[in-house]
Each structure stands twice: as structure tokens, then as C-alpha cells.
Amino acid sequence: MTYILQQLINAVQLGSIYALIALGYSMVYGVLRFINFAHGDIFMVGAFLSYFAAVLIKRLAGATAIPTALIFVGSMLLAMLGTALITLSIERIAYRPLRRYRLSVVITALGMGVFLEHMTLVIVGPWRISFHPLITETVYKVVGVSISTTQLVIIFVSILLMLILEFIVRQTKQGMAMRAISYDREAVPLMGVNVDHIITLTFAIASCLAAAGGLLYAHAYPIIEPYMGIMVGWKAFISAVVGGIGVIRGAMLGGYILGFVEIAAGAIFPSRMRDLISFVVLMIVLLAKPTGIFGLPLRQKV
């Protein structure tokens, strides 16, 4: 029983990170019907920028001791800002001019992913960098189950960010515009909404979530390297598809499902079979429900 509870906590932790990244794929798909295949690498950039932001903050602080919580939040915000700027440049330079050419823009996205990997490789070198955690680790024992501050922070921050996202999407006029675009993009300008602004905002939010995901992931698995975004990116993408791409809650659910499946597969089968099993399970879900669990019904045009 305690073993299962233990694994459950691990699954929620992993699922939270997948959910954050899956949201980016899903939101961008919602407004553009486009899969941003560079998103996994955006997540990697977020992890690296968090690392450098933490170093920078510590250096600026010098001898003055500042609480690690402050460094954590500061690094996250700086990483979000930096990641968003990079993503928006990519959108403006590489995606927007090609928006009308569906296939080309997808290939461009794959290319931008490779570009980001190799830029990082050039800048930081081929070494695996160990990420110094910004959370003071304390392990609590609750009825035999151990849970660490790192796990609590990862879960708490992810859920907080998702609540903020829900608020933006449900309650603000920009969020309304995002949802409207996902339903009928051509009619949105008639409401006086500049669609390009909303698309920019969507990319910005998606990359902020990916940056946070990068920082949190680096706390769970504290080694960062330029190719870390590839596998995580694929997994998050598939989570988004399983949940129903274009649907916010679908991406969240998909992320958690993948987290659970992966931890369960790793607990039951030899660990080298983990990815194999989890992808098979996801394929089965998709065979049963091709548009994903909360899948957008294919809109009929009158």
C-alpha cells in the first residue's frame, strides 16, 4: 500500500511536468491548427535559462544571503521571460511568414527545434550540466510514505500555473478570443480582435509554461543537456493528443495519464521497457478515441 502511494506521488510529480509542456502544444494547436515541434526544445531552453538565471542571481547577490525560495521564483520568472522572447522571435521570423503553408511551417518547426539544440550545444558545450537545486530538500514521512519538498514544490507550482492559465482562458477577454479563434478563426477579426496579437500571446504563455516545466524537471532530474527536450517533448506532445489536442483540460489530463502510465510501467516491468509500454498504452487510448479523450469534435462547416 505504501509502495503504491509512493509511486502515486511520483506519478503526480512527473505528470505535472508533462501537463505543463503538453499545454503548450495544445494551446498553439488551438489557435493555429499547427503542431509546434520545437516546443520540446523550448522546454530545454527553459531549463538552461533557469540554470543561468540562478547563477546570475546568486552572482548579483554576492555575499548577501538571499533565501533560496527567492532565487527559485526569480530564476523561474527570468527563464519564462527569456524563453518567451526566444519563442516569439521564432514565431515572428520563422512561423508567421509561412503560416499559410501548412506543411512547410511544420517542417520549419522541426528545423527550429534542431536549431535550438545546436545553438545550446554551441553556447554551453556538449557537457551534461548538473543543476544545483534551488529548493532546500527536506523529506517528510507521512504514514510510511516519503515526500520531499522538491516533489511538493513541483506539484504545487504546476497546479498553481495551471489554475492561472484556466483563469486567463476562462475569464479574460484575451482568453475568450483564444477560444473563439480555436472555433472559427476567420470570424474573430469581425469582433475587432487582432488575431496576430492573440497568437503572439498564446505562444508567450505556452513558452512560459514550458520554461517553468524546464525548471521543475531539472529539479526532479537534475542533469540538463541540449537534447533533453526531444524525448520529453514527444511525450508531452503525445499527452496532448491523448487528452484531445486543442483542449486545455485535455492536455492537463493527458499529462497526468502519461505520468501515471510511465510510473506504473516502470514499477511493474523492467525499467528499460518503460517508454515502450507507455507509448503502447497511449496508442491504445488513441485507437479507442482517435480525437483524444476530450477531443474537439470535427467542426462541420455550413
Binding site: R179, A180, D184
Partner: protein
């Protein structure tokens, strides 16, 4: 003159949809463009709201050249386009559809007053406030589409086939409300296949045939015109 269209040419690929049409709409008027399917009526409205590109000609609104503006800026200038097929956002509630149409407005009180006005004009929408757009009937969706145009505070309303798919009773109701809206100061440019309805509703009409304006004049005169009667009023 509120709106003037001069020698407007629009093509879809190699096919010319409008061959240099000219017409105008004065402040406070109801003007209709009538014509058969494919005559270029919707194209004309889409050109005015800048949803499609224009090959030649001019579109002036309050002295400004609309060709210099993006579609969302045309809305800010006061042109509200109620598109063909209503284009309600089915995943948003009725209230959210209305709020979205007020996207550029900052006058909270004015917005609240407009909600009241709209719910007075269309009590059905008040009942369905929290319902998703795609659960509305065709008639209710048309009401919502007109209501959204009101929320943008447009001074000129472009209406594309509002009668399409509506039962005669609903259609009469809708046109009664549209007349009220016009009497309250909104100028209307209407596009209709239902020529009988359009001639009754509008003060002036233009008849569009395969991208050309072939007839124009006060509705009462056109309704008596034998050619119009034969082609559009069923003899």
C-alpha cells in the same frame, strides 16, 4: 455620404467576382444589394470589412480609405459585419460571444447598458445567456449575430443574408428589430437573396448580376420594374 464604393474590383484567382462596382450609403439609410447566388453580394461586404483583398477601386468610409485598414481596425472605425452563416462561436456562451464583440471597448457602463438594450430587443438571448452558442437554434444564432454587431457599437451594420434559413415568422421578427436598430441611428447595408423582403425593408436598392450593378433606385421604383419582377419577385 457615410460609405462610398468606387469601381471596386475583386478576383478569386483568375475569376473576377466584381467588375468595378460603385455605390454609396448615406447616414441613417437602409440600402440593400440584391441579386442571385454568386452575383458578388457577399464578396462586396467582405471587401468592405477587409476580409478579402481588392484588386482595384476604392472604399471610403467617413472620408477614410478603408483599404488602409486591417479587418479588426475596420471594426474600430464603426463598421459591424454580420457575416453569412452567422459565424457564432459555438464553444463560447451567448454572454461570452457578446463580451468578445466588445473587445475594444473600455466603457464599462456603456457595455452594461448595451447588454440591457440587447436583452430587451432579443428576450430569447437573455434566457439563453449562459448557454453555449452551438446549442442555439438558427433564429437565435441570427439574433446573437446581430446583437454582437450592436456590441461593437457599429454605426454602419453590414448584414449578409440575415433571412437565410429562418422561418417566415422569425424573419419578420428579425426585420422588425433591424428596423428599430436603424431608427435608433444605425445605418444598414443589407445583402439579400430574398428580394421581396429586401425591397420592402430598404429605402434604396442595387441589383447585382455577375459582378456588375445592373439596376439601382428607390425600392418602391424597383419593385415596379418589370425586369426586377420577372427575375427576382417571381413575375
Amino acid at each position: 455620404m457615410l460609405l462610398s464604393v468606387e469601381n471596386l474590383e475583386v478576383s478569386y484567382g483568375h475569376i473576377k467576382a466584381l467588375h468595378g462596382i460603385s455605390f454609396h450609403v448615406d447616414e441613417g439609410e437602409i440600402v440593400a444589394l440584391i441579386g442571385a447566388n454568386g452575383a458578388g453580394k457577399s464578396t462586396t461586404l467582405k471587401a468592405i470589412s477587409r476580409l478579402i483583398s481588392v484588386q482595384a477601386g476604392n472604399i471610403r468610409y467617413e472620408g477614410k480609405n478603408l483599404l488602409d485598414f486591417a479587418p479588426h481596425d475596420v471594426v474600430k472605425l464603426g463598421i459591424a459585419h454580420v457575416p453569412e452563416g452567422r459565424r457564432i462561436f459555438g464553444n463560447l456562451t451567448v454572454m461570452e460571444n457578446l463580451k468578445l464583440a466588445a473587445y475594444n471597448r473600455k466603457d464599462r457602463e456603456g457595455i452594461a447598458q448595451d447588454f440591457e438594450r440587447i436583452f430587451a430587443l432579443f428576450p430569447r438571448l437573455a434566457e439563453r445567456k449562459e448557454q453555449r452558442g452551438d446549442t442555439l437554434s438558427g433564429g437565435e444564432q441570427q439574433m446573437l449575430a446581430v446583437a454582437r454587431a450592436l456590441m461593437t457599437r457599429g454605426r454602419l451594420m453590414l448584414l449578409d443574408e440575415p433571412s437565410m434559413g429562418l422561418a417566415p415568422v422569425l424573419m419578420r421578427d428579425l426585420f422588425r428589430v433591424l428596423r428599430e436598430i436603424n431608427e435608433a441611428g444605425t445605418t444598414i447595408l443589407l445583402v439579400e437573396q430574398n428580394a421581396r423582403m429586401a425591397l420592402k425593408f430598404a429605402q434604396r436598392c442595387y441589383v447585382l448580376e455577375t459582378g456588375n450593378i445592373v439596376l439601382e433606385g428607390p425600392s418602391s421604383e424597383l419593385a415596379q420594374n418589370p425586369a426586377v419582377q420577372a427575375a427576382y419577385l417571381g413575375g
